[in-house]
């Protein structure tokens, strides 16, 4: 292996067991699992609050994250996601995978890829409001404490994913 070559990926089962142990630790200490989209909710609410406080308090989608919180940025899940960013950065550097680039299939332009990425992000955030969580907070954490909704969500994500995959084939492979 050349020195500047990206390091190999870890075995997915080792990563899975590692994340599972992390979730156990999180439940033992705090009584809840890991999350992700909740951090975006909190950040968005405090951002809107900083620009237009009255407006933020008038919208239920924002005020829910502002009421009774001393400072929204001291929220557990926001700190946790800040950690995810740092951990990703550290591991990306160590594994020599840090690189400014657009990840896409060979058949589409960069602009198309970025538009798909934006639209996908929009759909996920909107949907996560209905599901009350994403792949981390609902599927992983909720799934491990046997929340029926978490399992329904997970099965539905795979159904949704596989049903549009053929439409998106050119974008990826």
């Amino acid at each position: 292996m050349k020195n500047n070559e990206a390091r190999p990926y870890w075995n997915p089962y080792i990563v899975g067991v590692g994340i599972g142990l992390l979730i156990i630790l999180s439940f033992v200490v705090t009584g809840r699992g890991l999350g992700a989209v909740g951090a975006f909710n909190g950040l968005m609410a405090s951002l809107v609050h900083a620009i237009a406080p009255d407006y933020a308090m008038s919208k239920g989608a924002y005020s829910a994250y502002l009421a009774g919180v001393e400072h929204p940025l001291k929220d557990w899940v926001i700190i946790e996601i800040a950690g995810v960013c740092m951990g990703g950065l550290l591991s990306g550097i160590v594994s020599r995978r840090f690189k400014f680039e657009v990840i896409k299939g060979p058949g589409i332009s960069k602009i198309t890829r970025l538009l798909f990425a934006f639209s996908g992000g929009l759909l996920m955030a909107y949907a996560a409001k209905f599901t009350r969580g994403c792949t981390s907070g609902l599927a992983l954490s909720g799934g491990s404490v046997l929340s029926p909704g978490a399992w329904l969500f997970m099965i539905s994500v795979f159904i949704g994913g596989y049903s549009v995959a053929w439409l998106m084939k050119k974008a990826w492979n």
Binding site: L22, F27, G31, S144, S147, G149
Partner: protein
Amino acid sequence: MAPLQFNMEIPEALLLLFALLTGIAFGMFLEKAGFGNARKLVQQFYLTDMAMFKVLFSGIVTAMLGIYWLSYFGLIDITQIYINGTYIWPQVIGGVVFGFGFVMAGLCPGTSCVAVFTGKLDGLAVFAGIFAGLILFAETEPALSGIINASSIGDISLYEVFHMNYGVLTFLISLVAIASFWFAGRIEERFSKQTKGPSL
């Protein structure tokens, strides 16, 4: 007894430090699995690389068994832990739409953070999309509150729904997991030979 936060005094700063360290480990695991790369992650849906399924399901089973045995030996009070509430239709329909978004983005909200912080600009576009989605939701919420709160069955767990023993259910799920890991390996083998999946 766990959860520690509810049964002993833990300074807030220490909890936030724990959140940061947990997050760092989570981010490193996701990056090491290759999940900062949308094209690798999305191969799940083309059956050429089932890493997403493997990580997700082995993570769930590990945590599920750990929490079960901790509660079996009286080390964690299961009534004090947070169980995500179930809203049948919002989670089913929302899940399908989330799946559409996942295949378009190639990343989920958590892995998009890893993508951005390893320099992937498509991750930034996912970030922007997430914020746009949240703005759109805040503006449209009043018209949707009926749908969002429909078919709630509360914060119950699967073994209560099925009137089953907690331990028996975790055992059955573990068996399903082992079978599905074997099956995932076979599928991967067959499809990566057929299409000679992209080199990532």
